[in-house]
Amino acid sequence: MAPHDIRRPFKRAAISDQQKRRELSLLRQAQNRRDAQQQARCLASSILSLQSAAPESQPEQSDTEIETVPESEQESEAFSKDLDVRQASKLRGPEVRKWFARQLMLPEWMIDVPDRLAQDWYVFARPAGKRCFVVSSNGTTVSRQRNGSILHHFPSALPAGAKIRDGSGSAQSYCILDCIFHELDQTYYVIDMVCWNGYSLYDCTAEFRFYWLNSKLEESGACNAPSHYHKFRFSAVPVYNCDSSGLYSAYTGVGPYAKDGLLFYNKHALYQTGNTPLALVWKDENCSQYVIDTDGKGEIPSQQQVVLELQDDRKLVTSDDPPVLFGCLDGDIIEKSGLHTGNLLRFAIGDGGLSFADGKLEKADLIYLGKSNRARAFADSYSKVLFQFMVRHSPLKIDDLLASINSANDQEKTPSDIEMVG
């Protein structure tokens, strides 16, 4: 036998740089292929999500703060469709606020109890605080309020949320979280997850999004105590199945945050921007300090106040899609107060109240008060007006919700015994 085939005299140099170059090239190519693949996966999904996130039929949501030039509207709408969130984050001024303002899912107020609450819905206690969108990308994290204005600009442990050396942080990576910032413990409570690490969750069911939220947020380290590269703590909220024990826990449970009502999410609903009846908010005095709306001075006005939008033909409508008509404004007032189409106007509901026929609004007794606060981005929704009206006259009580769950358990058809108007 010749010297052992595989036994190369080991005093000979073991390095073959050519083989090394070949291997390093292959490694680089594999890495580039992975990046290209990853980019395709992320980019595509975020473009898709924006298409569904910018519905054409979105009502005009002009805001006194956001100066909108009507001519450019069409153009910027088309523009925003081809935009992903990282590009959106490069937008400046009003454009960016406008863009972000449209991205939130807005729950309707619960004015009657949905069917199959126990089977198809989640419930959780809404933390008291500012609803906002938290976006992490390019090594920084920005939170924006509902009207698009920036709340904080900070480093976070969210993927792509801070400029730290991290092998896994690719340029494609970014996150969008639906949060409530809770002042007292300076914590962002995440109530929904819209994009995570470059992947869009818009088209995923709430069931999936909450599952994802719970597993990913913890993993990322975003729930850790604040540190140099992680300025605010994030936290998930406990979400329950809306059976009687779940509802009871959400309603009475003591958590780390002050409650502001309960949120109900339909398990099968996708993340839908704008108002949706598949997410609902409900409050009473036990679980919220802010059941009845207050005025600018923080006092409860004697009469219910509503904000409506003035349309072309002097019609006053809600922010719903399609808008609900509340009445018409006298040409007089428009002239005297110098009002324009798209203005948001404040009204009180007079003693005549609201009257309904066949479950639809028939007449509203509106008293004009003036233009609304400049910070307002939207008119009130129909469900909000109605909920506020019910709170003042004949509130939907926690017992009604429990009764609805229990009666469904008793195999009875859900009774429609909840009067909507007093």
């Binding site: 740089d17 170059r21 090239s25 996966r41 969750l201």
Partner: protein, 891 residues
């Protein structure tokens, strides 16, 4: 062999060839075929070729008749046997399969006649005829036994082996040896194995009076050991076999002793777990051989222990440090028990150096084998070896005789891999200064050579971010660099080792952060290495190659601080490469030298491009040279004309990545070389590298690659359907489909049908795996390529109106995913890609594929398995898939 290539129909010689060859004439033709007169020889070869074409059966019968006939001259009998052998077997796999089929389809009577002739030849008094016949019989057996033909062969070989005359007995044993080498153990039943072993062992035993018979039997046993599984499990039979082998190691005949030790080496790896009862005796036998026997025998005796080390290293690696692990084979710690005696024995061998062994590339002697074995022992036992070697080093390192100083240094260098840094670092701290001074001052070149090598090993294993207490500090770093640079002016073999040491010195600082201790010396190091490449004697001891390799590593491990210096290197290397393409009219020797140098320079440029291209700031500065570099690469291709240079191709891939979409301007000129590379089946590495570069270009150009896609896709599909292409190129071709599809999007439609059909048949073949580990590994590479293609195609078509074109392929792809999941033999890479494809399919097809996806096993069990994987990449891909599926089924 020339005899098997196709005849040239236009050859004028053919016209003079007779249509029929007579037995009387064949002898003359065969003699002519060995004539020293070229024309006569050529004519005879043409005749043989022609006759083979005309009537193969007749031709083979004639040849076997020639071989068996005692009247014929020995040269023609030998040549007949050789032509017969070449008619049965070939190196080329494809050709081999053809020959096997051809033999199996020959007329049965003719084959019987040929085989009878072969067996008869075994008793010929002419030894060359017997030996040739032995080999041909083994080739026939290699074809026929797996097809259950020639069942009587073993029986007839063994029937009268005891009564045979000595020469026939020797030939029969030799035939059995070749037979065992040729056929796999599973085609011979145990009963016949027993008979073969019995005959072989009897032939080996001391009672066999004839040395030739005993040697043939011992060599036959070497080949038959793989058949003896059952016999080695039987205590009595194993004892007997081992006794006979050990006795043969004591034979007075050196060739028998050597063959017997070769058997022991083979037994040590095949039957490691059966060796415990014999290991003490074997140690005594090997120790005696190493000390006293002739070199070929002593080398085998050392090899036995090297082989035991290999086994134990493998077993211990499999334990993975967990000694309760249930490996198939337990570790018997033979080496650990043997070291008190084994290590001194090996240290003695180190003193038996040959003069000038360092200048001879192929040198292999007792000292080298002993050092190699010592290195393996160190890897096997770790710390325990250190106290056994240190006294030897201390005693010899300062001795007058260069042999003692060299042996001591070699011993030190050999044990640097294996023992823990904690154990070694104190020694190294003491020795380092001594070594540095020996490298410059020792009067003996051998000692300097080994010292430089030892320094290289110190840096390789004990220097780097993984080692806690650094052996190189601010205090001695400069001295080390100065000594190594100085040493690079020494004789070529010493200078080459010094380059190697510098290579590992640089490598150890790879992850040092923004500032490297080598920064102050960077300029000087680069200058010295370039000077080495220009030495007159740089081609000796592969010195120039080592210098460029070291330069590459220095560049790879450089930091931002020295990026401007790396940039300055670009025009220097460009100039060097420019000089190589200038020369005209070279001799073939000069051309070979030129090509080698071009390879080194292209390799160096590739490393620089990759380094500077990886950071945005340096990339833009570097790109000013892109036109010049690309022009040179094209000139390099033009010099070689017939073939494309692999190194230049690799460098172009790196350049495409760095330049991005601008690379399009080089495409018109570069394209033909790209195509040439894709067509290069012979140098399959070039083909594979070119396929990879297509991927780089796709990612750089994106949709701008469209004008070149027709040509590329045609060539790739052609390659896939070729039998000649090395199989390792196929997986990258599939991945490349994915790269192209991702780059061109829906434009891929025109290739879709062809690509999908190629993918589908490959997928069907690679769903199930059978075979050895190597084959399973290959199948997994193939699967990965196929899956990457699917990923690229799905993502490429996504959001296009043509998405629905992919719907018909979804069932098959899901079936493929389910299939490979059920096989349970995916590696991690395949798992990651496979689960990603599931996501891509869901992502692109959405609700169109929702119900299909929900029916698949992959979307449940496989996905869950991946979601809970420890591997981050698998988990990430699985999460993507889960998301995409959730979207697809919720819409």
């Amino acid at each position: 062999m020339g005899f098997i290539s196709a005849p040239n129909p236009s050859s004028p010689i053919l016209r003079s060839v007779k249509e029929k060859l007579e037995p009387m004439e064949v002898t003359q033709v065969l003699l002519n075929a060995q004539s020293i007169d070229g024309a006569v020889r050529k004519n005879a070869e043409e005749s043989l070729k022609h006759f083979q074409e005309q009537n193969l059966t007749g031709f083979l019968l004639l040849l076997s008749g020639e071989l068996v006939s005692e009247e014929k001259p020995v040269e023609t009998r030998k040549l007949s046997g050789l032509i017969l052998k070449n008619a049965l077997d070939a190196k080329d796999q494809q050709r081999k399969v053809e020959l096997v089929q051809r033999w199996l389809s020959l007329d049965g009577n003719a084959k019987s006649q040929i085989k009878a002739g072969l067996l008869k030849t075994l008793s010929s008094p002419v030894s060359d005829a017997r030996s040739t016949a032995s080999q041909v019989i083994a080739k026939v057996a290699g074809i026929e036994l797996p097809h259950k033909q020639w069942p009587e062969l073993v029986g007839s070989l063994l029937s009268n082996v005891h009564q045979l005359p000595v020469h026939a007995k020797q030939a029969t044993l030799e035939t059995l040896g070749y037979l065992c080498e040729e056929v796999s153990p599973d085609v011979i039943d145990q009963d016949q194995v027993n008979k073969i072993l019995t005959a072989v062992v009897q032939g080996m035993s001391a009672s066999e009076g004839n040395a030739d018979v005993r040697l043939a039997a011992t060599r036959a046993l070497y080949n038959a050991l793989g058949f003896a599984q059952a016999n080695f499990s039987n205590d009595m039979e194993r004892d007997y076999l081992m006794r006979v082998v050990c006795e043969a190691t004591l034979s007075p005949e050196v060739r028998i002793r050597q063959a017997a030790f070769e058997c022991l080496v083979s037994i040590s790896s095949t039957y490691y777990e059966k060796l415990a009862p014999y290991i003490q005796d074997i140690f005594n036998i090997t120790a005696k051989a190493v000390r006293e026997d002739e070199e070929p025998v002593a080398l085998q005796a050392i090899e036995f222990w090297s082989s035991i080390c290999d086994e134990e290293i493998d077993i211990l690696e499999e334990y993975g440090g967990d000694f309760t692990g249930d490996s198939d084979i337990p570790c018997f710690y033979f080496i650990k028990q043997a070291i008190p005696a084994l290590v001194p024995m090996l240290l003695e061998t180190l003193l038996k150096q040959e003069e000038d062994q360092d200048q001879d590339e192929g040198a292999w002697n007792i000292a080298m084998a002993g050092g190699t074995c010592l290195g393996l022992v160190a890897r096997t036992v770790g710390d325990d070896i250190v106290p056994l070697v240190v006294p030897f080093i201390e005693e010899n390192i300062t001795k007058q005789d260069w042999r003692q100083r060299e042996a001591a240094t070699y011993a030190f260098g050999s044990i640097l891999e294996g023992p823990s840094p904690t154990k070694l670092i104190p020694l190294v701290n003491v020795a380092l200064n001594f070594m540095l001074s020996a490298l410059t001052k020792d009067p003996n070149s051998h000692v300097k050579d080994t010292t430089a090598w030892t320094l290289g090993r110190i840096f390789e294993f004990l220097h780097g971010s993984a080692v806690d207490s650094p052996i190189i500090t601010q205090a001695n770093c400069q001295q080390i660099v100065v000594v190594l640079l100085q040493s690079m002016k020494d004789t070529p073999n010493v200078a080459e080792k010094a380059c190697g040491a510098l290579y590992f010195l640089a490598q150890g600082y790879e992850e040092v952060g923004p500032s490297s201790p080598l920064t102050p010396f960077f300029q000087e190091i680069v200058q010295s290495l370039l000077t080495v490449t220009h030495r007159e004697d740089a081609r000796e001891s592969r010195l120039r190659t080592a210098a460029y390799e070291t330069l590459n590593e220095v560049v790879r491990c450089s930091t931002d601080e020295t990026a401007p210096l790396v940039l300055q290197l670009v025009p220097v290397i460009i100039m060097e490469l420019h000089n190589t393409v200038e020369g005209q009219k070279l001799s073939s020797d000069e051309r070979e030298k030129q090509s080698e140098l071009q390879g080194l320079l292209c390799g160096c440029l590739q490393v620089i491009i990759q380094k500077l291209g990886s950071s945005e700031s340096t990339k833009y500065l570097f790109l000013q040279y892109a036109d010049q570099i690309m022009g040179l690469f094209l000139s390099v291709f033009a010099c070689r004309s017939a073939t494309v240079h692999e190194e230049a191709m690799l460098a172009i891939g790196a350049l495409a990545y760095a330049t991005g979409p601008d690379f399009v301007k080089y495409m018109p000129e570069f394209y033909r070389y790209l195509e040439m590379g894709l067509q290069n089946f012979e140098e399959y590495q070039v083909c594979a590298v070119t396929v990879g570069v297509v991927g780089d270009i796709c990612r750089a150009l994106e949709e701008k690659v469209v004008p070149y896609c027709d040509g590329i896709m045609t060539q790739l599909l052609k390659n896939l359907s070729s039998n000649q292409l090395h199989r390792s190129v196929k997986p990258p071709i599939f991945s490349c489909f994915g790269d192209i599809a991702l780059a061109v999007g829906e434009y891929f439609e025109k290739y879709l049908m062809w690509a999908m059909s190629a993918l589908q048949s490959a997928a069907e073949l690679s769903t199930h795996t059978t075979g050895d580990d190597e084959l399973i590994e290959y199948i997994n590479t193939l699967r990965n390529g196929i899956l990457e293609a699917y990923s690229g195609i799905f993502q490429g078509f996504k959001n296009s109106p043509k998405t629905q074109l992919l719907i018909p392929y979804a069932p098959h792809i899901l079936q493929f995913l389910d299939g490979i999941y059920m096989e349970k033999d995916m590696d991690d890479v395949v798992m990651k890609t496979a689960i990603g494809v599931l996501g891509d399919l869901a992502d692109t097809l959405g609700s169109h594929a929702a119900s299909l996806i929900q029916q698949s096993v992959s979307s449940k069990d496989f996905l869950n398995e991946c979601l809970s994987s420890e591997d981050v990449m698998i988990k990430e891909s699985a999460e993507w898939a889960k998301l995409a599926i959730s979207r697809a089924i919720s819409v």
